[in-house]
């Protein structure tokens, strides 16, 4: 990371700490905001959050590693999370999964070369009655078919 980038990051985190407070309990809110903006939480940001909340970097890392929606490595601009739990599976998840893989040219767990898409599985997203479902960034899409999924992806390209 360049020094200017580091300074900008520090400033950003200082603002977040001001917004949410420097208590230990503010940690998750701060991390979520960083994740939302940068799509991941850089190493340096973790250490700065730790410094400003007066906790240890490893504690921040521990929290990030616990939550699937927080990442320490850069991801694509759009993160697609297809529900892999049993209800969605019974309602045709596999077909949707294959069509997405084919459309984007990547497998689950991978990021497209142009850094536009990251494809992942998620566990139950609570749309069991309207599956298969997926979450793209923070929006839920449901009652998917292979065709509908591709249409949604095309809308994002």
């Amino acid at each position: 990371m360049l020094v200017t980038e580091k300074n900008a990051m520090t400033e950003e985190i200082e603002q977040l700490v001001e917004k949410y407070g420097s208590k230990r309990s503010s940690l998750l809110s701060i991390l979520q905001d960083i994740q939302r903006k940068h799509k991941y939480i850089p190493d340096f940001a973790q250490q700065e959050v730790a410094r400003l909340l007066d906790i240890h970097p490893v504690e921040v890392f521990s929290v990030i590693s616990f939550y699937a929606f927080l990442n320490t490595k850069p991801k694509g601009k759009n993160i697609i999370r297809l529900c892999q739990t049993i209800s969605c599976d019974m309602q045709g998840k596999s077909a949707v999964a294959k069509s997405i893989e084919r459309e984007l040219g990547i497998k689950f767990g991978e990021t497209s070369k142009d850094n536009k898409f990251t494809l992942e599985y998620a566990n139950c997203v609570g749309m069991c009655d309207q599956g298969p479902a997926m979450i793209i960034n923070e929006r839920v899409y449901y009652k998917l078919t292979p065709e509908k999924a591709i249409e949604i992806l095309n809308g994002l390209k």
């Binding site: 190493d43 973790q46 240890h56 970097p57 504690e59 890392f61 521990s62 616990f66 320490t72």
Partner: protein, 638 residues
């Protein structure tokens, strides 16, 4: 220990605070309970575990440790509480109202056995080749509860790679049972913060920041985690094979120096209770193993006092007389864990660290120069081993700057535990050994060097000499029997003021070339402090940063480990508050039994300044061999 976590600790790790009922008179602060149908009364807020212990009922524990705050994660201590739907973890259950407890009902026994079975199903147990074989808490529980088959399966292959990156601490997470003792030690007790649980569910393991190897994170190598680990997931980096090889090589001259703390504790590894000093027996045993010479680290502890004391006097002289700006207070530098802690967390204060090396490293430099010359041995053929209570000493002897003799000053740092194993391997029963003395030319050392092993010891040793240097009076005239009681004991932070008064003595011969007289110290008050455990060190450092009381101190002793070296990370397992107390008693008793109790009275120290370090303390050669420099490491990991 007083540091049982504070408000920053995770919620699950904060100490139990029980609100007292408004009307305590009705129950008199005591609660009557029934344990296994026996009626007893216990103070309000006592945990079930403590209540059982007080009444002679033992309950197995794994995640519980006397030094650490309550976690309640391993569940092995479950008991039945009448009226409760489920079994309760006794370590985390404060008694606030009358209750009936059963500690050994069929349900309890079955649950405990299942818990052990479950732990074993994820534990990569290779007991024969494990360094904790026979001393493993999990193994003992399995034995106690008669586990005779792996009900839930068994791990055949290690799940994680062993992290051997650190010179001091080896991590083998395949043997971890996730009791989080190391996490609580690192975060709450020591406030270093290297280890924490990473990932979730089945993949949970204890990890470091960004899963980096231990050598690349802010680990200070104190080894306190090793001392608290119930299994062999954490151990010290053991150099005993290399040492055996050196002993077996006829061309090598193998020298060992022994520090005071291992001598006060090694008996525990041979079935003796805590607090038996084995100094002279150890000398014989080491010779029988095949070490060519056995030297007493206390000799260089005495030398440290002279060098570090002189350095302090020079700093004060510069500040008070020459009005130069110097870094004060001066910090001790004997504890390599503390040194690395400062380098990481307070790098702006490295000038305050005494430039004097630790006794181990001073000896290393002298053995391969002074001793090699005298004995006519090529230093290239000398293998220098240091028996220490410490895992950080292994890191210290591998610091790249520790090559002042032209060779690696100290080749290997060996812990008390590893030494005990070598002695056992040689078929020697240490307590039965006849007594023998240390080898010349360094010979016997003073009691001042000996008490380096306990927290406050370095300061006491320094004061014994400084008082005589400056006041020209005997220490005994000021402190009864030369025991400086305010500096002893296990209080986290100790503070003392010593008024110099109007009468000063003549400058002793040794220091004459450095200061003309002591007049400039007339009426001054020497302010000193002592801290042990890095959590306490952190408190002092933050106070200094804020310009508080400790920023006015002149000299502060810091030890990384709770209790000082005697509670070091290389000491026998377990180390508890009671055991630390007994080891300290052994050290102070040995000190009092000695004739020679002040560093500057040590004839060998006087001799080395006459014959070898002829420019005196802090002179040119001293600086070359006995002093060092430090690194501003900082807390960021790239």
């Amino acid at each position: 220990m007083e540091s049982k976590g504070d408000l920053r600790a995770p919620v699950s790790q904060t100490p139990l605070i029980v609100e007292k009922p408004k009307d305590t008179s009705a129950i008199g602060g005591m609660v009557s309970i029934e344990i296994n149908e026996k009626k007893v009364a216990v103070p309000l807020g006592t945990t079930i575990l403590e209540a059982c212990k007080m009444n002679g009922i033992s309950i197995p524990t794994l995640c519980h440790h006397d030094d650490l705050c309550v976690a309640g994660v391993c569940r092995i201590c479950v008991v039945e509480v009448e009226g409760m739907r489920t079994l309760q973890a006794s370590c985390a259950y404060p008694i606030t109202n009358p209750m009936k407890i059963k500690t050994s009902s069929p349900m309890v026994r079955r649950a405990r056995r299942h818990i052990i079975d479950l732990l074993l199903s994820e534990h990569y147990g290779e007991c024969y080749s494990c360094f904790r074989n026979g001393k493993c808490e999990l193994q003992n529980l399995a034995k106690e509860y008669g586990v005779d088959s792996y009900t839930f399966g068994h791990v055949e292959k290690p799940k994680y790679e062993v992290d051997k990156s650190s010179y001091s601490v080896v991590r083998d997470m395949s043997k971890c049972v996730l009791c989080k003792r190391c996490v609580r030690t690192c975060i709450d007790l020591q406030e270093v913060g290297v280890l924490e649980a990473v990932d979730r569910g089945d993949n949970t393991h204890i990890g470091t920041f960004l899963e980096k190897p231990l050598a690349d994170v802010i680990c200070i190598n104190c080894g306190q985690c090793i001392n608290r680990c119930p299994t062999a997931a954490l151990r010290a980096n053991d150099p005993s094979d290399e040492i055996w090889a050196a002993i077996d090589d006829p061309t090598k001259h193998v020298i060992i120096q022994t520090a005071p703390s291992p001598r006060a504790a090694i008996g525990e590894e041979f079935g003796l209770g805590a607090g038996h000093s084995m100094t002279r027996e150890l000398n014989t045993a080491l010779k029988r193993i095949g070490f060519d010479k056995v030297f007493d680290t206390n000799f260089t502890a005495d030398l440290t006092i002279i060098e570090e004391g002189t350095e302090l006097i020079l700093r004060l002289y510069k500040a008070l007389v020459k009005k130069e700006s110097v870094a004060l207070p001066q910090f001790t530098s004997c504890s390599p864990g503390w040194v690395k802690f400062l380098e990481h967390y307070y790098p702006e204060y490295i000038d305050n660290l005494s430039s004097a090396k630790s006794p181990q490293q001073m000896f290393g430099a002298l053995i391969k120069t002074f001793y090699a010359q005298r004995a006519g041995i090529d230093p290239a053929n000398i293998v220098s081993v240091a028996l220490m209570p410490c895992s950080a000493k292994k890191f210290e002897c591998n610091r790249p700057e520790m090559h002042d003799s032209g060779y690696k000053d100290v080749d290997y740092g060996l812990t008390t535990r590893e030494m005990a194993r070598m002695i056992k391997e040689a078929g020697i029963n240490l307590p039965e050994m006849p007594k023998s003395n240390f080898d010349n030319p360094f010979g016997e050392a003073s009691g001042a060097g000996l008490i380096f092993g306990a927290t406050g010891g370095v300061m006491e040793a320094a004061i014994r000499s400084v008082v005589e240097f400056v006041l020209g009076k005997k220490t005994e005239d000021i402190f009864e029997k030369a025991n400086i009681i305010p500096l002893r004991g296990f209080e986290g932070i100790k503070y003392m003021e010593i008024p110099i008064g109007d009468k000063v003595g003549p400058v002793p011969e040794l220091l004459k070339h450095l200061v003309p007289n002591w007049d400039w110290l007339k009426g001054a008050v020497l302010k000193i402090a002592v801290a042990h455990g890095t959590a306490n060190a952190k408190k002092i450092m933050d106070d200094i940063k804020a310009g508080g009381k400790f920023s006015e101190c002149h000299f502060i002793e810091f030890m990384a480990c709770p209790g000082g070296c005697l509670g070091g990370g290389g000491q026998p397992i377990p180390t508890t508050p009671e055991i630390r107390k007994k080891r300290a008693e052994a050290i102070y008793a040995e000190d009092e039994s000695l004739e020679l109790r002040k560093s500057h009275d040590n004839p060998h120290v006087v001799q080395i300044y006459q014959e070898f370090l002829t420019e005196g303390p802090c002179g040119h050669l001293s600086h070359e061999l006995l002093h060092t420099h430090y690194l501003k490491r900082g807390r960021y990991i790239a």
